[in-house]
Structure formats: structure tokens, C-alpha cells
């Protein structure tokens, strides 16, 4: 083995070994569990059951509700996070006094976990003594306190609100970085051609940052879809399953029911959905190059 090969191997070995053993191995083991009867409280009886766990899932109204909620959760969160994040990035793209400090104030939710964000918003949305009810009452927008998290009608909208609040910063940061990479000559040329602000936005800005828009929305959908922490902290799927999404539903099956087979089946269904989504998305956007490798 040459010195070069030795150097490459020893540099990569720890990372590769750890990721293979503790990320990929348990992942495939989890996929296998989806086809097994695997319950934590009955480990003596682990055996393959074919597609039984999947059949059970699709018969379970809680699962179907979580599936529907997931679509709603991803779509609304993404749309609002993106639009607000993009607007903010456009405004922040111009220098103004105090911009650095301002950025600090709007980016800080990134340092918080979804779980704690969920707890904070649970308190804000409290139906008796919560501050959001109080503010809405004072502004005269409502006349009676709303059970934001206890009323199934409102619960989903409430967790989505918190999630939008949490995620805007991601788009702002990413899109702002992209905006700052646009050469100013492009705008100068557009001005000479007589383009106004609107036209510049649609004919220069958006086409130029399209790769970033595609990459960030793709990644974001995957993360929003996969991450149950905010919902866990805020409602843990309640009231009566009204805010369960697939990932929080699956998490509960692991932590509280110990039904690893059923949970893994939900996980595999999630992977299939993500895979189909990614394929579809890349086909529609015709983008082969997302990320940098």
C-alpha cells in the first residue's frame, strides 16, 4: 500500500466505520423489523410476518389521519416558511443600519430544539391563561378564548403556526446567501434595458437563485416530514390524535407502545413516500445537481 493510500484510508476509516455500524446497520435492521412481529415486551416471539404490519397500518384510522396530517403539515409549513423567508431575505439583502444585530434576533430559533419550541408555544397557546388568547381578546379579534391545542379544529393550525415561526429563518439564511452571490452587473444590465423592480425580481433574481430554491425546498420538505420533535413537545399528537403526523405517530409506537414492528412499518412507508417525492420533484424541476458532489 502506498503512502497516499494509507493516508486516505486512515483519514476515512473512523468516519466510515462508525457511520456504517451505527447508522446504516441499524437502519437496515429497522427496515427488516417492519416485516417482523417485534415487540419490546415480548422479545421471545420475534418472527417474520410478511406484510402484516403494513396491512395493519392501513387499517388503522389513526395512521390514516396521521398520513393526511403529514401532507397538510408539510405543505402549509413549507409554503409559509418559504414565502415569508424569501420576502425577508429580499429585504435583508440591502444594507441598512443595524442589519447584523437584526439578523441575530431573527435567526436565534435555530439554536433551539423543536421540543423546547413546542413547549414554549404550548404555553403561548394555553387556552385559559395563554398570552395569544389574551392578545386576541384585547385586540377585539375574538370574544371567547379559543382552545388552540385542545380543540381538534384549531390544533393542527396551531402546531403549523409554531413550525412556520421555527423554520422561516432557514429559508432566510439560505436564500439571503444566494441573493448575495448574484453579480450586480446583472441588475445593471437589466436597468439599462429598462426593467423595473418587479421585472428584475422575476427575470433576474428568481432564475439566478433557482438552484438554491430547488435544493432548499427539497431538503426542507424532507426535514419537516421527518421531524416529530415540535409536535411531541407541543401536543404529542393530541387532542385524540388530531395533530399526529407520521413521524410523531411512529415515535409514540416506539417510546410508549414498544411495538417496534408496527413503528418500523410506518418508517418504511415514510421512506417510500420520501423516495417517490424526491424522484418526482427532481423530474419536475429537471434538476440533476442538488448539493455539491
Amino acid at each position: 500500500m502506498s503512502a497516499r493510500q494509507k493516508f486516505i484510508l486512515s483519514g476515512l476509516l473512523p468516519a466510515l466505520l462508525l457511520v456504517l455500524v451505527f447508522t446504516y446497520y441499524p437502519f437496515f435492521k429497522g427496515v427488516a423489523m417492519a416485516f417482523q412481529n417485534y415487540k419490546l415486551f415480548n422479545l421471545k416471539q420475534v418472527y417474520f410476518v410478511g406484510l402484516q404490519n403494513f396491512a395493519d397500518a392501513f387499517k388503522d384510522p389513526q395512521f390514516l389521519a396521521a398520513l393526511k396530517n403529514s401532507v397538510y403539515w408539510v405543505f402549509c409549513s413549507l409554503l409559509l416558511q418559504f414565502l415569508l423567508g424569501f420576502m425577508l431575505a429580499l429585504v435583508l439583502n440591502k444594507r441598512f443600519w443595524g442589519r447584523g444585530v437584526y439578523q441575530g434576533f431573527i435567526f436565534y430559533p435555530w439554536a433551539l430544539s423543536g421540543f423546547l419550541i413546542g413547549l414554549i408555544w404550548k404555553w403561548l397557546f394555553n387556552s385559559q391563561i395563554g398570552v395569544i388568547n389574551d392578545l386576541l381578546l384585547r385586540l377585539g379579534l375574538i370574544h371567547n378564548r379559543i382552545g388552540f391545542l385542545s380543540d381538534p379544529k384549531w390544533a393542527m393550525a396551531s402546531v403549523i403556526t409554531a413550525n412556520v415561526w421555527y423554520g422561516i429563518a432557514f429559508f432566510t439564511i439560505m436564500l439571503l446567501a444566494a441573493l448575495q452571490s448574484i453579480p450586480s452587473e446583472l441588475y445593471e444590465a437589466a436597468s439599462i434595458d429598462g426593467a423595473n423592480g418587479y421585472r428584475k425580481l422575476f427575470y433576474v433574481t428568481i432564475p439566478y437563485i433557482m438552484p438554491t430554491i430547488i435544493a432548499t425546498t427539497l431538503l426542507r420538505v424532507i426535514w419537516i416530514f421527518n421531524d416529530p420533535t415540535l409536535i411531541y413537545g407541543m401536543t404529542n399528537g393530541g387532542p385524540a390524535g388530531a395533530t399526529h403526523i407520521l413521524s410523531s405517530f411512529m415515535l409514540n409506537k416506539i417510546i410508549y407502545d414498544g411495538d417496534y414492528g408496527a413503528a418500523s412499518a410506518v418508517g418504511v412507508i415514510m421512506i417510500v413516500i420520501l423516495f417517490l417525492y424526491t424522484l418526482f420533484y427532481l423530474m419536475v424541476t429537471k434538476s440533476e445537481k442538488v448539493g455539491d458532489f
Partner: protein, 276 residues
């Protein structure tokens, strides 16, 4: 001229409203934590407490081992972030500087880990830790936090390495350095801002991690802050004074760190997406 003036007013109004919306939840949790129990539960809601008190903070240290949780969180988060840093520097450097068979597959393998629904591995990991007798041991968390962060840290640091021209080490190697000492003496000092942002990012992720810790640890003396907060929710569900104080103590360190390193973290996180 008038249109521009109107636009500016709208912009200032938008920015002010937005910052208010972003800061208010944090303000509210801090204010709640400083209110006496009675005031939290009485109407009308007070936007500035009548009496400021640290009673809620005193309480959580009295009724629980909050100091121990903080120490555990610090120990686990720092140790794992340090280990990730060393491992990721090695793998990122190799992936940035050498082309070899399998290069592309390895990068892809790292990228894919970022997209998998991680919870499908939760149950198998629990079984693995159980058979390795690592349940209720801090090492299980340090190990898993390290593993989880390796792919992202590698991708991030690789981006930083690629920006440093390789003739810097080549010059050092002509002067008689080995590749390893060129990396240690020439490249890493230049990369320090990037490396520290990776370290802080890793620390924050570890500090915040909840579910692995809930699965692996149920010994009071070993609990990390998120696990403790999770049992708080069950124990003190309606005691919002204690809950707020715990939340404030949990978020404070990460917010301070993030504020300090904001510029570098943002740079590190955005470069991949923007280049693509």
C-alpha cells in the same frame, strides 16, 4: 420619490413587526419564569410582572437535580463535539484533497444519512446498546451523537477545505513537512473559524438531542437536560413557572453560543446549498 418613501415605511414596518413576532415567545418564557406562581395563574395576564422573583429557578434546583442535568449535558455535548471534530477533520480533508475510487459513493452515503427518517433506527439502536450493555451509560450518548454528526460535519468542513488552495500544503511539503504535519501546521490554523463553527453547531445539536437520550437513559444521575425537561412535562405539567425556568436554562447556552458564532455558522451552512 414618493413611492420610494412609502416603500421604506412599509419595509421598516414589516421588519419591526417581524422582529417582534420572533422575539416575543422568548421574552414571554423569560418573563413567565420570573413571575411568582400566583401571578402566572391569575388574570388579567400581566405583560410585565408585578413582582420579579427567582423563586422558580430556586425551586427547580431544589426539587430536581437540575445542576446534575446541566453537568451531564455539558459533558456529553462537549466530549462528542470534540470527537466529531477530530474525525470529521480527517475525513473531510481526505475527501477534499484526493480523488479515488469510491469517492463519489462515500459522499453520497454521507448525504443520504441526512435524508433518512432517523427514528426507524431508534428501536434497533436501543437493542444494540442493550446488548453492548451501554444503556444508562453516558458513553452510549457520546457514541451516538458523534456518529450522527459525522456526515454533516464532514460535508461542511470539506467545503471549507476546498476553499483553501492546495499549493499551501504543497509548499510546506517541499519544505520537508509530511502531509499530516502540513495539515496540522498550515491548514488547520487557517481553518480555525470554520472548525469552531462546526464545533459549535455540533455542540448545539448534542445539547438539544432528546429521543436517543430518552431511550438510553433513565437514571436520574445520568439524565441530560432535554430528558429532564421531558420528565418535567409529565411531572409538573401545569407548573408553568418551573417549566419556564427550565426552558430558559436549557436555551440560554445555545443562544449565547449561536450569537457569538452566527457569522461563521451561517457561512458554513449556506455554502453547500448556494454552490449547487
Amino acid at each position: 420619490m414618493r413611492r420610494r418613501y412609502g416603500y421604506r415605511i412599509m419595509k421598516v414596518a414589516f421588519l419591526s413587526f417581524y422582529v417582534l413576532v420572533m422575539v416575543f415567545p422568548l421574552y414571554w418564557i423569560v418573563i413567565t419564569s420570573l413571575k411568582p406562581q400566583k401571578e402566572i395563574f391569575s388574570l388579567p395576564v400581566r405583560y410585565w410582572p408585578e413582582h420579579l422573583t427567582l423563586q422558580n429557578y430556586v425551586n427547580i434546583f431544589k426539587v430536581s437535580k437540575f445542576g446534575v442535568y446541566i453537568a451531564n449535558s455539558l459533558l456529553v455535548s462537549v466530549t462528542s463535539a470534540l470527537i466529531v471534530m477530530v474525525i470529521a477533520i480527517c475525513s473531510a480533508y481526505v475527501l477534499a484533497r484526493f480523488r479515488f475510487r469510491g469517492h463519489r459513493q462515500i459522499m453520497l452515503g454521507f448525504f443520504v444519512t441526512q435524508m433518512l427518517p432517523g427514528f426507524i433506527s431508534l428501536a434497533p439502536l436501543y437493542m444494540m446498546m442493550s446488548s453492548m450493555h451501554l444503556l444508562n451509560q453516558r458513553i452510549s450518548l457520546i457514541l451516538m451523537y458523534t456518529v450522527i454528526l459525522i456526515p454533516f460535519s464532514t460535508i461542511m468542513l470539506r467545503g471549507f477545505f476546498q476553499r483553501i488552495p492546495s499549493n499551501l500544503e504543497e509548499a510546506a511539503m517541499i519544505d520537508g513537512c509530511s502531509q499530516l504535519s502540513a495539515l496540522l501546521r498550515v491548514i488547520i490554523p487557517i481553518m480555525l473559524p470554520g472548525i469552531s463553527s462546526m464545533f459549535i453547531f455540533a455542540f448545539v445539536q448534542n445539547w438539544n438531542e432528546l429521543f436517543l437520550a430518552v431511550m438510553f437513559i433513565d437514571n436520574e444521575a445520568l439524565k441530560t437536560l432535554p430528558v429532564a425537561m421531558n420528565s418535567f412535562v409529565l411531572k409538573f405539567n401545569v407548573d408553568w413557572g418551573a417549566m419556564s425556568a427550565g426552558t430558559v436554562l436549557s436555551v440560554l447556552p445555545t443562544i449565547v453560543l449561536f450569537a457569538l458564532a452566527q457569522k461563521f455558522i451561517v457561512e458554513g451552512l449556506t455554502q453547500g446549498a448556494v454552490k449547487g
